[in-house]
Amino acid sequence: MTAATHGAGAAPALSVRDVSHSFGSRKALDGVSLEAPSGAFTALLGLNGAGKTTLYSLITRLYQNRSGSIAVLGHDVRRDPAGALSRLGVVFQARTLDLELTVLQNLLYHAALHGLGPAEAKRRGLALLERVGLEARAKERVRALSGGQMRRVEIARALLHRPSLLLLDEPTVGLDIGSRRALIAEVRRLIADEGIGVLWATHLVDEIEAADRVAVLHKGRMLFSGDVAALRDRAGTDDVGAAFMAVVTEADAAAPGASAA
Protein backbone atom coordinates (compact mmCIF):
# COMPACT_ATOMS: atom_id res chain seq x y z
CA MET A 1 0.00 0.00 0.00
CA THR A 2 1.33 3.44 -0.76
CA ALA A 3 2.63 5.14 2.31
CA ALA A 4 0.29 7.91 3.21
CA THR A 5 2.21 10.99 4.24
CA HIS A 6 1.53 14.45 5.52
CA GLY A 7 -0.16 17.02 3.38
CA ALA A 8 -1.41 16.57 -0.13
CA GLY A 9 -0.57 12.88 -0.36
CA ALA A 10 -2.64 11.89 2.68
CA ALA A 11 -5.46 9.47 2.01
CA PRO A 12 -8.91 11.07 2.31
CA ALA A 13 -11.12 10.00 5.19
CA LEU A 14 -13.36 8.29 2.67
CA SER A 15 -12.76 7.43 -0.93
CA VAL A 16 -15.40 5.73 -3.06
CA ARG A 17 -14.38 4.85 -6.61
CA ASP A 18 -16.68 3.69 -9.36
CA VAL A 19 -18.94 1.59 -7.17
CA SER A 20 -22.03 -0.12 -8.60
CA HIS A 21 -24.50 -2.34 -6.83
CA SER A 22 -27.63 -4.15 -7.94
CA PHE A 23 -30.42 -5.89 -6.15
CA GLY A 24 -31.56 -8.46 -8.67
CA SER A 25 -32.12 -6.51 -11.85
CA ARG A 26 -32.56 -3.17 -10.11
CA LYS A 27 -29.43 -1.09 -10.19
CA ALA A 28 -29.22 0.78 -6.89
CA LEU A 29 -25.82 2.38 -7.51
CA ASP A 30 -24.26 3.00 -10.89
CA GLY A 31 -20.58 3.93 -11.06
CA VAL A 32 -20.61 6.11 -7.96
CA SER A 33 -17.45 7.97 -6.96
CA LEU A 34 -17.10 10.21 -3.95
CA GLU A 35 -14.42 11.63 -1.74
CA ALA A 36 -14.80 12.96 1.79
CA PRO A 37 -11.60 14.65 2.96
CA SER A 38 -10.43 14.71 6.55
CA GLY A 39 -11.34 17.80 8.50
CA ALA A 40 -14.27 18.67 6.26
CA PHE A 41 -18.04 18.40 6.19
CA THR A 42 -19.27 16.59 3.11
CA ALA A 43 -23.00 16.61 2.52
CA LEU A 44 -24.47 13.73 0.56
CA LEU A 45 -27.61 15.18 -0.95
CA GLY A 46 -30.26 12.96 -2.40
CA LEU A 47 -33.99 12.49 -2.56
CA ASN A 48 -35.58 9.42 -1.03
CA GLY A 49 -34.57 6.31 -2.94
CA ALA A 50 -31.47 7.95 -4.41
CA GLY A 51 -29.27 5.13 -3.13
CA LYS A 52 -27.89 6.80 0.00
CA THR A 53 -28.74 3.87 2.26
CA THR A 54 -27.24 1.36 -0.18
CA LEU A 55 -24.06 3.40 -0.34
CA TYR A 56 -23.91 3.51 3.46
CA SER A 57 -24.50 -0.23 3.66
CA LEU A 58 -21.56 -0.81 1.35
CA ILE A 59 -19.27 1.58 3.23
CA THR A 60 -20.17 -0.08 6.54
CA ARG A 61 -19.72 -3.51 4.91
CA LEU A 62 -23.18 -4.77 5.66
CA TYR A 63 -22.61 -6.26 2.26
CA GLN A 64 -19.64 -6.03 0.01
CA ASN A 65 -19.07 -3.95 -3.07
CA ARG A 66 -18.55 -6.18 -6.09
CA SER A 67 -17.20 -3.46 -8.36
CA GLY A 68 -15.10 -0.42 -7.69
CA SER A 69 -13.38 0.29 -4.41
CA ILE A 70 -14.21 1.87 -1.07
CA ALA A 71 -11.46 2.94 1.32
CA VAL A 72 -11.50 4.53 4.75
CA LEU A 73 -8.32 6.51 5.28
CA GLY A 74 -6.64 4.37 2.65
CA HIS A 75 -7.88 1.06 4.07
CA ASP A 76 -9.87 -0.84 1.50
CA VAL A 77 -13.14 -2.11 2.95
CA ARG A 78 -12.95 -5.34 1.00
CA ARG A 79 -9.29 -6.23 1.44
CA ASP A 80 -8.78 -4.86 4.95
CA PRO A 81 -12.24 -4.72 6.56
CA ALA A 82 -10.87 -4.58 10.08
CA GLY A 83 -8.61 -1.65 9.23
CA ALA A 84 -11.48 0.20 7.57
CA LEU A 85 -14.21 -0.53 10.12
CA SER A 86 -11.99 0.32 13.07
CA ARG A 87 -11.56 3.83 11.64
CA LEU A 88 -15.22 4.34 10.94
CA GLY A 89 -17.92 5.71 13.22
CA VAL A 90 -21.55 5.46 12.16
CA VAL A 91 -24.82 7.04 13.18
CA PHE A 92 -27.57 5.15 11.41
CA GLN A 93 -30.86 6.63 10.41
CA ALA A 94 -32.80 4.23 12.62
CA ARG A 95 -32.20 4.55 16.32
CA THR A 96 -29.82 1.83 17.35
CA LEU A 97 -29.51 2.32 21.10
CA ASP A 98 -30.73 -0.37 23.44
CA LEU A 99 -33.60 1.33 25.24
CA GLU A 100 -33.51 -1.00 28.25
CA LEU A 101 -29.87 -0.32 29.03
CA THR A 102 -28.38 2.81 30.50
CA VAL A 103 -26.55 5.36 28.42
CA LEU A 104 -23.20 4.23 29.74
CA GLN A 105 -24.00 0.54 29.25
CA ASN A 106 -24.78 1.24 25.62
CA LEU A 107 -21.42 2.93 25.23
CA LEU A 108 -19.55 0.10 26.98
CA TYR A 109 -21.20 -2.47 24.72
CA HIS A 110 -20.15 -0.61 21.62
CA ALA A 111 -16.63 -0.14 22.98
CA ALA A 112 -16.36 -3.88 23.60
CA LEU A 113 -17.33 -4.53 20.00
CA HIS A 114 -14.27 -2.50 19.09
CA GLY A 115 -12.06 -4.35 21.53
CA LEU A 116 -11.91 -1.61 24.16
CA GLY A 117 -11.85 -2.86 27.73
CA PRO A 118 -14.36 -1.58 30.30
CA ALA A 119 -12.02 0.75 32.20
CA GLU A 120 -10.75 2.60 29.16
CA ALA A 121 -14.22 2.58 27.61
CA LYS A 122 -15.74 4.14 30.71
CA ARG A 123 -13.11 6.86 30.80
CA ARG A 124 -13.62 7.74 27.14
CA GLY A 125 -17.37 7.34 27.34
CA LEU A 126 -17.76 9.77 30.23
CA ALA A 127 -15.48 12.29 28.50
CA LEU A 128 -17.55 12.08 25.32
CA LEU A 129 -20.82 12.36 27.22
CA GLU A 130 -19.50 15.46 28.87
CA ARG A 131 -18.67 16.78 25.46
CA VAL A 132 -22.23 16.32 24.21
CA GLY A 133 -23.60 17.66 27.48
CA LEU A 134 -25.10 14.42 28.79
CA GLU A 135 -22.65 13.32 31.49
CA ALA A 136 -25.36 13.71 34.13
CA ARG A 137 -27.55 11.17 32.32
CA ALA A 138 -24.92 8.43 32.08
CA LYS A 139 -26.66 6.13 34.55
CA GLU A 140 -30.15 6.66 33.17
CA ARG A 141 -31.94 4.28 30.88
CA VAL A 142 -31.92 5.41 27.29
CA ARG A 143 -35.70 5.17 27.25
CA ALA A 144 -35.84 8.28 29.45
CA LEU A 145 -34.03 10.47 26.92
CA SER A 146 -35.51 12.71 24.24
CA GLY A 147 -34.94 12.08 20.55
CA GLY A 148 -32.27 14.76 20.30
CA GLN A 149 -30.47 13.44 23.35
CA MET A 150 -30.47 9.92 21.92
CA ARG A 151 -28.86 11.23 18.76
CA ARG A 152 -26.16 12.92 20.80
CA VAL A 153 -25.52 9.67 22.66
CA GLU A 154 -25.25 7.92 19.30
CA ILE A 155 -22.68 10.45 18.18
CA ALA A 156 -20.73 9.97 21.39
CA ARG A 157 -20.92 6.24 20.81
CA ALA A 158 -19.71 6.54 17.23
CA LEU A 159 -16.65 8.46 18.46
CA LEU A 160 -15.65 6.02 21.22
CA HIS A 161 -13.08 4.17 19.15
CA ARG A 162 -11.67 7.46 17.76
CA PRO A 163 -12.65 7.07 14.12
CA SER A 164 -11.20 9.13 11.30
CA LEU A 165 -14.49 9.17 9.45
CA LEU A 166 -17.93 9.79 10.85
CA LEU A 167 -20.87 8.66 8.73
CA LEU A 168 -24.32 10.01 9.51
CA ASP A 169 -27.44 8.88 7.68
CA GLU A 170 -30.11 11.58 7.85
CA PRO A 171 -29.37 12.14 11.55
CA THR A 172 -31.77 15.02 12.00
CA VAL A 173 -34.91 13.16 10.91
CA GLY A 174 -37.58 13.54 13.55
CA LEU A 175 -35.78 16.22 15.55
CA ASP A 176 -37.19 19.62 16.37
CA ILE A 177 -35.47 22.66 14.98
CA GLY A 178 -33.55 23.42 18.17
CA SER A 179 -32.14 19.90 18.46
CA ARG A 180 -31.30 19.93 14.79
CA ARG A 181 -29.26 23.09 15.08
CA ALA A 182 -27.50 21.84 18.20
CA LEU A 183 -26.63 18.55 16.53
CA ILE A 184 -25.21 20.18 13.42
CA ALA A 185 -23.21 22.63 15.52
CA GLU A 186 -21.82 19.75 17.56
CA VAL A 187 -20.68 17.85 14.49
CA ARG A 188 -19.11 20.96 13.01
CA ARG A 189 -17.23 21.55 16.27
CA LEU A 190 -15.92 17.99 16.06
CA ILE A 191 -14.55 18.60 12.61
CA ALA A 192 -12.83 21.78 13.78
CA ASP A 193 -11.42 20.24 16.98
CA GLU A 194 -10.57 16.73 15.93
CA GLY A 195 -10.06 17.06 12.21
CA ILE A 196 -12.21 14.04 11.38
CA GLY A 197 -13.95 13.70 8.06
CA VAL A 198 -17.74 13.73 8.07
CA LEU A 199 -20.15 12.39 5.49
CA TRP A 200 -23.63 13.65 6.27
CA ALA A 201 -26.49 12.26 4.21
CA THR A 202 -29.51 14.50 4.03
CA HIS A 203 -32.18 15.92 1.81
CA LEU A 204 -32.38 19.14 3.79
CA VAL A 205 -30.31 21.78 2.05
CA ASP A 206 -30.44 24.23 4.95
CA GLU A 207 -28.03 21.95 6.82
CA ILE A 208 -25.30 22.87 4.35
CA GLU A 209 -22.91 25.80 4.74
CA ALA A 210 -20.96 27.70 2.13
CA ALA A 211 -17.61 26.09 2.97
CA ASP A 212 -18.90 22.52 2.78
CA ARG A 213 -18.43 19.96 0.10
CA VAL A 214 -21.49 18.57 -1.61
CA ALA A 215 -22.19 15.35 -3.45
CA VAL A 216 -25.50 14.93 -5.25
CA LEU A 217 -26.75 11.36 -5.60
CA HIS A 218 -29.78 10.76 -7.76
CA LYS A 219 -31.28 7.46 -8.89
CA GLY A 220 -28.05 5.66 -8.13
CA ARG A 221 -25.79 8.05 -10.03
CA MET A 222 -23.50 10.75 -8.68
CA LEU A 223 -24.55 13.89 -10.51
CA PHE A 224 -22.23 16.32 -8.85
CA SER A 225 -19.33 16.31 -6.45
CA GLY A 226 -17.45 19.41 -5.37
CA ASP A 227 -17.80 22.46 -3.17
CA VAL A 228 -20.90 24.51 -2.65
CA ALA A 229 -19.67 27.37 -4.82
CA ALA A 230 -19.14 25.04 -7.76
CA LEU A 231 -22.64 23.64 -7.38
CA ARG A 232 -24.10 27.14 -7.39
CA ASP A 233 -22.05 28.09 -10.43
CA ARG A 234 -23.08 25.02 -12.31
CA ALA A 235 -26.76 25.67 -11.72
CA GLY A 236 -26.39 29.41 -12.05
CA THR A 237 -28.16 30.24 -8.83
CA ASP A 238 -27.15 31.38 -5.37
CA ASP A 239 -29.62 29.14 -3.63
CA VAL A 240 -28.27 25.69 -2.75
CA GLY A 241 -31.73 24.14 -2.76
CA ALA A 242 -32.54 25.51 -6.17
CA ALA A 243 -29.14 24.42 -7.46
CA PHE A 244 -29.71 20.89 -6.16
CA MET A 245 -33.11 20.66 -7.81
CA ALA A 246 -31.73 22.11 -11.02
CA VAL A 247 -29.03 19.42 -11.21
CA VAL A 248 -31.59 16.70 -10.50
CA THR A 249 -34.11 17.99 -13.01
CA GLU A 250 -31.45 18.34 -15.66
CA ALA A 251 -30.46 14.70 -15.18
CA ASP A 252 -34.06 13.53 -15.38
CA ALA A 253 -34.59 15.51 -18.57
CA ALA A 254 -31.43 14.05 -20.09
CA ALA A 255 -32.54 10.48 -19.39
CA PRO A 256 -36.22 10.25 -20.24
CA GLY A 257 -35.86 6.53 -20.82
CA ALA A 258 -35.38 5.93 -17.12
CA SER A 259 -38.96 5.34 -16.13
CA ALA A 260 -40.01 5.96 -12.59
CA ALA A 261 -39.31 2.99 -10.33
Binding site: L62, Q64, A82, G83, E100, Y109, L113
Partner: protein, 291 residues
Protein backbone atom coordinates in the same frame (compact mmCIF):
# COMPACT_ATOMS: atom_id res chain seq x y z
CA UNK B 1 0.85 -6.30 7.26
CA UNK B 2 0.90 -2.93 5.63
CA UNK B 3 -1.99 -1.88 7.81
CA UNK B 4 0.35 -1.68 10.75
CA UNK B 5 2.63 0.92 9.22
CA UNK B 6 2.26 4.35 10.69
CA UNK B 7 -0.73 5.70 8.90
CA UNK B 8 -1.33 9.16 7.74
CA UNK B 9 -1.14 11.01 11.00
CA UNK B 10 -4.42 12.76 10.53
CA UNK B 11 -5.32 14.73 13.61
CA UNK B 12 -8.18 12.38 14.36
CA UNK B 13 -6.06 9.28 14.22
CA UNK B 14 -2.79 9.68 16.05
CA UNK B 15 -0.27 7.11 14.89
CA UNK B 16 -2.27 4.09 15.83
CA UNK B 17 -2.01 0.39 15.61
CA UNK B 18 -5.45 -1.02 15.10
CA UNK B 19 -4.64 -4.65 14.64
CA UNK B 20 -7.19 -7.02 16.08
CA UNK B 21 -5.61 -8.63 19.10
CA UNK B 22 -6.56 -11.80 20.91
CA UNK B 23 -7.45 -9.65 23.91
CA UNK B 24 -9.73 -7.64 21.66
CA UNK B 25 -11.48 -10.78 20.48
CA UNK B 26 -12.10 -11.75 24.09
CA UNK B 27 -13.36 -8.27 24.97
CA UNK B 28 -15.81 -8.38 22.08
CA UNK B 29 -17.03 -11.82 23.17
CA UNK B 30 -17.35 -10.66 26.74
CA UNK B 31 -19.22 -7.53 25.67
CA UNK B 32 -21.77 -9.46 23.65
CA UNK B 33 -22.41 -11.98 26.44
CA UNK B 34 -22.59 -9.16 28.98
CA UNK B 35 -25.22 -7.30 26.97
CA UNK B 36 -27.30 -10.45 26.47
CA UNK B 37 -27.11 -11.09 30.20
CA UNK B 38 -28.19 -7.53 30.99
CA UNK B 39 -31.11 -7.78 28.61
CA UNK B 40 -32.07 -11.05 30.18
CA UNK B 41 -32.05 -9.53 33.65
CA UNK B 42 -34.19 -6.64 32.44
CA UNK B 43 -36.69 -8.94 30.78
CA UNK B 44 -38.01 -10.78 33.82
CA UNK B 45 -41.08 -11.80 31.87
CA UNK B 46 -38.92 -13.71 29.45
CA UNK B 47 -37.21 -15.61 32.25
CA UNK B 48 -40.48 -16.35 33.96
CA UNK B 49 -42.17 -17.69 30.86
CA UNK B 50 -39.08 -19.71 30.01
CA UNK B 51 -39.41 -21.31 33.42
CA UNK B 52 -43.16 -21.65 33.63
CA UNK B 53 -43.61 -23.28 30.21
CA UNK B 54 -41.74 -26.51 31.01
CA UNK B 55 -43.07 -26.55 34.56
CA UNK B 56 -46.63 -26.56 33.27
CA UNK B 57 -45.73 -29.59 31.20
CA UNK B 58 -44.04 -31.23 34.14
CA UNK B 59 -46.65 -30.53 36.79
CA UNK B 60 -49.84 -30.85 34.80
CA UNK B 61 -49.31 -32.68 31.54
CA UNK B 62 -46.99 -35.32 32.94
CA UNK B 63 -49.13 -35.87 36.02
CA UNK B 64 -52.22 -36.31 33.90
CA UNK B 65 -50.61 -38.69 31.44
CA UNK B 66 -48.65 -40.66 33.99
CA UNK B 67 -51.30 -43.35 34.05
CA UNK B 68 -51.94 -43.36 30.32
CA UNK B 69 -48.40 -43.49 29.02
CA UNK B 70 -46.47 -46.27 30.65
CA UNK B 71 -42.77 -46.24 29.97
CA UNK B 72 -41.00 -49.56 30.08
CA UNK B 73 -37.43 -49.94 31.15
CA UNK B 74 -35.28 -48.52 28.38
CA UNK B 75 -31.74 -47.22 28.59
CA UNK B 76 -30.48 -45.20 30.31
CA UNK B 77 -33.09 -46.03 32.94
CA UNK B 78 -32.49 -49.17 34.98
CA UNK B 79 -35.80 -49.19 36.77
CA UNK B 80 -39.28 -48.11 35.94
CA UNK B 81 -39.32 -44.35 35.98
CA UNK B 82 -42.14 -41.93 36.44
CA UNK B 83 -43.40 -40.25 33.31
CA UNK B 84 -42.20 -36.93 34.76
CA UNK B 85 -38.69 -38.29 34.85
CA UNK B 86 -39.00 -39.50 31.29
CA UNK B 87 -40.08 -36.17 29.82
CA UNK B 88 -37.69 -33.97 31.83
CA UNK B 89 -34.88 -34.17 29.20
CA UNK B 90 -37.39 -33.31 26.49
CA UNK B 91 -38.50 -30.28 28.46
CA UNK B 92 -34.90 -29.20 28.92
CA UNK B 93 -34.38 -29.43 25.19
CA UNK B 94 -37.61 -27.48 24.73
CA UNK B 95 -36.22 -24.69 26.90
CA UNK B 96 -33.19 -24.57 24.66
CA UNK B 97 -35.23 -24.72 21.50
CA UNK B 98 -37.34 -21.78 22.61
CA UNK B 99 -34.29 -19.91 23.74
CA UNK B 100 -32.42 -20.54 20.50
CA UNK B 101 -35.32 -19.31 18.42
CA UNK B 102 -36.05 -16.48 20.78
CA UNK B 103 -32.55 -15.12 20.67
CA UNK B 104 -32.71 -15.23 16.92
CA UNK B 105 -36.12 -13.64 17.13
CA UNK B 106 -34.32 -10.90 19.00
CA UNK B 107 -31.87 -10.78 16.12
CA UNK B 108 -34.69 -10.23 13.68
CA UNK B 109 -35.96 -7.54 16.01
CA UNK B 110 -32.45 -6.16 16.44
CA UNK B 111 -32.15 -6.02 12.72
CA UNK B 112 -35.33 -4.07 12.39
CA UNK B 113 -34.41 -1.57 15.07
CA UNK B 114 -30.89 -1.45 13.77
CA UNK B 115 -28.98 -2.83 16.75
CA UNK B 116 -27.82 -5.60 14.47
CA UNK B 117 -26.14 -2.94 12.36
CA UNK B 118 -24.13 -1.82 15.37
CA UNK B 119 -22.98 -5.39 15.90
CA UNK B 120 -22.01 -5.82 12.26
CA UNK B 121 -19.91 -2.65 12.01
CA UNK B 122 -17.55 -4.10 14.58
CA UNK B 123 -14.15 -4.63 12.98
CA UNK B 124 -14.04 -8.20 14.24
CA UNK B 125 -14.86 -10.88 11.69
CA UNK B 126 -18.45 -11.94 11.24
CA UNK B 127 -17.87 -15.52 12.34
CA UNK B 128 -16.53 -14.27 15.64
CA UNK B 129 -19.50 -11.96 16.18
CA UNK B 130 -22.00 -14.71 15.35
CA UNK B 131 -20.21 -17.23 17.52
CA UNK B 132 -20.16 -14.73 20.38
CA UNK B 133 -23.86 -14.17 19.92
CA UNK B 134 -24.36 -17.93 20.12
CA UNK B 135 -22.24 -18.23 23.25
CA UNK B 136 -24.37 -15.48 24.79
CA UNK B 137 -27.54 -17.37 23.88
CA UNK B 138 -26.19 -20.62 25.33
CA UNK B 139 -25.21 -18.83 28.52
CA UNK B 140 -28.75 -17.56 28.96
CA UNK B 141 -30.25 -20.97 28.15
CA UNK B 142 -28.03 -22.63 30.77
CA UNK B 143 -29.39 -20.26 33.40
CA UNK B 144 -32.91 -21.25 32.41
CA UNK B 145 -32.20 -24.98 32.32
CA UNK B 146 -30.58 -25.05 35.74
CA UNK B 147 -33.42 -23.02 37.21
CA UNK B 148 -35.79 -25.64 35.79
CA UNK B 149 -33.68 -28.49 37.17
CA UNK B 150 -33.73 -26.86 40.57
CA UNK B 151 -37.51 -26.73 40.65
CA UNK B 152 -37.74 -30.25 39.24
CA UNK B 153 -35.44 -31.45 42.01
CA UNK B 154 -38.00 -30.51 44.59
CA UNK B 155 -40.63 -32.31 42.52
CA UNK B 156 -38.51 -35.43 42.88
CA UNK B 157 -37.43 -35.39 39.28
CA UNK B 158 -33.71 -36.01 39.65
CA UNK B 159 -30.92 -37.85 37.87
CA UNK B 160 -29.78 -41.08 39.51
CA UNK B 161 -26.71 -39.34 40.90
CA UNK B 162 -25.97 -35.69 41.67
CA UNK B 163 -23.09 -35.95 39.19
CA UNK B 164 -25.74 -35.91 36.50
CA UNK B 165 -26.09 -32.16 36.97
CA UNK B 166 -22.45 -31.82 35.96
CA UNK B 167 -22.28 -34.44 33.22
CA UNK B 168 -25.27 -32.89 31.48
CA UNK B 169 -23.44 -29.59 31.07
CA UNK B 170 -21.37 -30.46 27.97
CA UNK B 171 -24.48 -31.96 26.36
CA UNK B 172 -26.41 -28.77 27.07
CA UNK B 173 -23.67 -26.64 25.53
CA UNK B 174 -23.68 -28.74 22.38
CA UNK B 175 -27.46 -28.88 22.01
CA UNK B 176 -27.64 -25.14 22.76
CA UNK B 177 -25.11 -24.55 20.01
CA UNK B 178 -27.08 -26.62 17.52
CA UNK B 179 -30.44 -25.03 18.30
CA UNK B 180 -28.97 -21.53 18.49
CA UNK B 181 -27.18 -21.91 15.16
CA UNK B 182 -30.41 -23.18 13.66
CA UNK B 183 -32.13 -20.06 14.92
CA UNK B 184 -29.38 -17.90 13.42
CA UNK B 185 -29.86 -19.43 10.00
CA UNK B 186 -33.57 -18.85 10.27
CA UNK B 187 -33.13 -15.26 11.37
CA UNK B 188 -31.10 -14.56 8.25
CA UNK B 189 -33.71 -16.09 6.00
CA UNK B 190 -36.79 -14.47 7.48
CA UNK B 191 -36.97 -10.75 7.28
CA UNK B 192 -40.07 -9.87 9.15
CA UNK B 193 -41.35 -10.58 12.59
CA UNK B 194 -44.71 -11.84 11.33
CA UNK B 195 -42.94 -14.43 9.28
CA UNK B 196 -40.92 -15.38 12.23
CA UNK B 197 -43.90 -15.80 14.52
CA UNK B 198 -45.38 -18.34 12.16
CA UNK B 199 -42.03 -20.04 11.84
CA UNK B 200 -42.11 -20.49 15.58
CA UNK B 201 -45.32 -22.43 15.13
CA UNK B 202 -44.16 -24.35 12.11
CA UNK B 203 -40.82 -25.20 13.65
CA UNK B 204 -41.19 -25.53 17.39
CA UNK B 205 -44.29 -27.68 17.53
CA UNK B 206 -43.43 -30.17 14.80
CA UNK B 207 -39.90 -30.50 16.07
CA UNK B 208 -41.03 -31.02 19.61
CA UNK B 209 -43.87 -33.47 18.98
CA UNK B 210 -42.09 -35.49 16.30
CA UNK B 211 -39.34 -36.42 18.68
CA UNK B 212 -38.63 -38.65 21.61
CA UNK B 213 -39.36 -35.81 24.04
CA UNK B 214 -42.81 -37.03 25.10
CA UNK B 215 -42.79 -40.71 24.19
CA UNK B 216 -40.11 -43.30 23.53
CA UNK B 217 -39.43 -44.03 19.89
CA UNK B 218 -40.49 -47.68 20.13
CA UNK B 219 -43.97 -46.53 21.02
CA UNK B 220 -44.09 -44.37 17.93
CA UNK B 221 -42.84 -47.25 15.84
CA UNK B 222 -45.77 -49.33 17.05
CA UNK B 223 -48.16 -46.58 16.09
CA UNK B 224 -46.77 -45.54 12.73
CA UNK B 225 -43.60 -46.54 10.93
CA UNK B 226 -43.34 -43.44 8.68
CA UNK B 227 -43.69 -41.23 11.72
CA UNK B 228 -41.03 -43.28 13.44
CA UNK B 229 -38.66 -42.55 10.55
CA UNK B 230 -39.36 -38.86 10.82
CA UNK B 231 -38.78 -38.92 14.55
CA UNK B 232 -35.56 -40.83 14.35
CA UNK B 233 -34.15 -38.41 11.78
CA UNK B 234 -35.29 -35.35 13.68
CA UNK B 235 -32.20 -33.66 15.11
CA UNK B 236 -34.28 -32.60 18.08
CA UNK B 237 -34.77 -36.26 19.03
CA UNK B 238 -31.02 -36.59 19.23
CA UNK B 239 -30.71 -33.43 21.29
CA UNK B 240 -33.22 -34.92 23.74
CA UNK B 241 -31.46 -38.29 23.86
CA UNK B 242 -28.05 -36.71 24.28
CA UNK B 243 -29.37 -34.80 27.29
CA UNK B 244 -31.24 -37.84 28.63
CA UNK B 245 -28.13 -40.04 28.66
CA UNK B 246 -25.85 -37.25 29.87
CA UNK B 247 -28.08 -36.74 32.89
CA UNK B 248 -27.27 -40.34 33.78
CA UNK B 249 -23.58 -39.92 33.15
CA UNK B 250 -23.64 -41.75 29.83
CA UNK B 251 -22.94 -40.85 26.24
CA UNK B 252 -25.33 -41.71 23.42
CA UNK B 253 -22.77 -41.80 20.62
CA UNK B 254 -25.19 -41.69 17.70
CA UNK B 255 -26.96 -38.68 19.14
CA UNK B 256 -23.65 -37.03 19.89
CA UNK B 257 -22.59 -37.46 16.27
CA UNK B 258 -25.92 -36.18 14.92
CA UNK B 259 -26.01 -33.15 17.21
CA UNK B 260 -22.38 -32.27 16.54
CA UNK B 261 -22.89 -32.73 12.82
CA UNK B 262 -26.04 -30.62 12.70
CA UNK B 263 -24.42 -27.93 14.85
CA UNK B 264 -21.54 -27.72 12.38
CA UNK B 265 -23.81 -27.56 9.36
CA UNK B 266 -26.05 -24.87 10.88
CA UNK B 267 -23.03 -22.89 12.01
CA UNK B 268 -21.44 -22.90 8.58
CA UNK B 269 -24.78 -21.97 7.03
CA UNK B 270 -25.20 -19.08 9.48
CA UNK B 271 -21.74 -17.71 8.80
CA UNK B 272 -22.43 -17.98 5.09
CA UNK B 273 -25.82 -16.29 5.40
CA UNK B 274 -24.31 -13.33 7.24
CA UNK B 275 -21.16 -13.15 5.13
CA UNK B 276 -21.00 -9.74 3.48
CA UNK B 277 -19.73 -11.00 0.14
CA UNK B 278 -21.64 -14.23 -0.34
CA UNK B 279 -24.50 -13.85 2.05
CA UNK B 280 -28.19 -13.50 1.75
CA UNK B 281 -28.12 -9.93 3.01
CA UNK B 282 -26.43 -8.75 -0.17
CA UNK B 283 -28.71 -10.68 -2.42
CA UNK B 284 -31.86 -9.61 -0.68
CA UNK B 285 -30.95 -6.01 -0.39
CA UNK B 286 -30.07 -6.03 3.25
CA UNK B 287 -32.06 -5.56 6.39
CA UNK B 288 -33.50 -2.18 5.69
CA UNK B 289 -33.04 -1.65 2.00
CA UNK B 290 -35.91 -0.32 -0.03
CA UNK B 291 -38.91 -2.60 0.07
Amino acid sequence: MSATEPLSPSPAAPPDDRRLTFGGYMIALYGIVWREGLRFVHQRGRFLSALVRPLVWLFIFAAGFRAVLGVSIIPPYETYVLYEVYIAPGLIAMIQLFNGLQSSLSMVYDREVGAMRILLVSPYPRWHLLLSKLVAGIFVSLLQVYAFLLVAYFWDVQPDSPWGYLTVLPALILTGLMLGAMGLVMSSVFKQLENFASVMNFVIFPMFFASSALYPLWRIQQASVPLWYICSYNPFTHAVELIRFALYGQVEWTSLAVVAGCATVFLVAAVFAYDPSAGLTARRGGPDAAK
